[in-house]
């Protein structure tokens, strides 16, 4: 059983996300998982005829469930999981369903996974009740994990994604040099490729684990991005774990991003956007997390909690986009029974 509270703060937006997740395993090996979250998003909006910003809070509710089982195939193991999720807010609905599978062999030293999922969304607008557009897509991706040495594990993954429908934000207006702003209208399809790798290396002498992550991304909107990340897990004593991290994200602009003036020229008829995240940008995430296992409860009346973990994390998110910098905070507890 896991409970978490997540927080994201930036100049114009505050997001608070409490969530809970429950996992059960039956005696015959069937796994059941279920979770619920609330996304409370408070953002500043300039109301018509108002002289100052007003704060507006929206709630998103999300539920998800999965069922899985591992099948013993003799010299290998096949794990199958089906999953589904539903998310709703007053101007957005989202259905997701999919399948995760993995085949392990070599006494679990090698694992090949394949994930496929489909999303079906409805994009609505509180400002225009006639706006109701579908958005659908699929994602498929293989992943391969290999134990390279007694202290070294490598995972490489690839993911192909395709989305079709309204891919903009109905509240955002693209600016034009020749006429009044119009609702942004990006291309109605998007194809993405993402390759990622993770190398985890344990240093027994200092009880340190180094995780090097790397992701490369390219899509049909001409956005290319790379994202290297280093996480260091330092164990202190039997129950305390510190995890400093650094992540860099570099991205090129979408082919239809507005020119430097912010306005599309007269006579422009192509796709449009006013989304700051579709411009060339760079972000840094610098953070520290602390995890503590309740080993002190061993052999007490609370012995059941001796393998429970508490964690708290704080990250500074630095971005050169017009969204500006932010703070990410998380706190959680994982309690096995």
């Amino acid at each position: 059983m896991e409970g978490r509270g997540n927080y994201f703060w930036e100049r114009s937006t505050r997001v608070v996300v409490p969530e809970a997740k429950l996992k059960l395993t039956s005696p015959n090996g069937v796994r059941l998982g279920a979770g619920y979250l609330v996304d409370a998003i408070t953002s500043a909006s300039i109301a018509a005829a108002a002289t100052s910003d007003q704060l507006k809070t929206e709630l998103r509710h999300g539920v998800h469930a999965d069922v899985g089982k591992e099948l013993d195939l003799g010299s290998s193991e096949l794990d199958l999981t089906v999953l589904g999720a539903y998310s709703t807010e007053n101007d957005y609905r989202s259905w997701i369903y999919g399948l995760r599978s993995s085949l392990s062999w070599g006494e679990r030293a090698s694992k090949l996974s394949l994930t496929a999922s489909r999303v079906q969304d409805r994009v609505l607008s509180n400002a225009d009740r006639t706006f109701d557009r579908p958005l659908s897509g699929v994602t498929v991706g293989p992943s391969f994990e290999q134990v390279l040495a007694p202290v070294l594990v490598l995972t490489v993954s690839y993911q192909l994604g395709y989305l079709q429908g309204y891919l903009g934000n109905p509240y955002r207006r693209a600016a034009f040099a020749s006429h009044a702003p119009e609702r942004e209208a990006p291309p109605e399809t998007r194809l993405r490729h993402e390759a990622s790798a993770r190398l985890a290396w344990y240093l027994p002498g200092s009880r340190t684990a180094l995780h090097l992550l790397y992701s490369a991304y390219a899509d049909s909107w001409n956005i290319a991005a790379i994202s290297p990340e280093l996480r260091v897990y330092q164990q202190i004593g039997p129950d305390l774990l510190l995890r400093p991290r650094y992540r860099l994200y570099l991205q090129s602009a979408a082919s239809f991003a507005p020119p430097a003036s912010g306005k599309y020229p007269a006579g422009y008829l192509g796709p449009t956007t006013n989304d700051p995240k579709l411009e060339a940008l760079r972000t840094h995430t610098i953070g520290l997390a602390i995890e503590y296992r309740l080993g002190v409860f061993a052999d007490t009346v609370f012995d059941f909690a001796k393998t429970a973990w508490l964690d708290v994390g704080f990250d500074r998110y630095l971005s050169n986009s017009s969204f500006g910098n932010g703070i990410i905070g998380t706190a959680g507890a994982v309690v096995p029974f």
């Binding site: 998003i41 957005y92 991706g141 134990v147 991304y217 991005a225 991205q251 964690d311 959680g332």
Partner: protein, 75 residues
């Protein structure tokens, strides 16, 4: 260096490293892999989803369809 070239080189390097893994590591040799700093996937699954959601809302890479849309100005 061009981000596309850098991405391709890093991907190929990782793939070569993976493919060169011919040494079999028996289960009794994998004690280190069960340490809290190595065995993090399950423990970090839920918090990772939140970080991914933040990144998808503030960075231009298209979200995978494994994550529910909306929220944080994503749509």
């Amino acid at each position: 260096m061009n981000p596309r070239k850098a991405a391709l080189i890093a991907w190929l390097a990782a793939a070569c490293l993976g493919l060169s893994a011919c040494q079999h590591v028996a289960p009794y040799q994998r004690e280190a892999l069960a340490r809290p700093g190595m065995d993090v996937k399950e423990r970090e699954a839920l918090s990772s989803q939140f970080y991914t959601h933040v990144y998808e809302a503030r960075e231009g890479a298209m979200p995978s369809s494994e994550h529910a849309g909306g929220g944080c100005g994503c749509n």
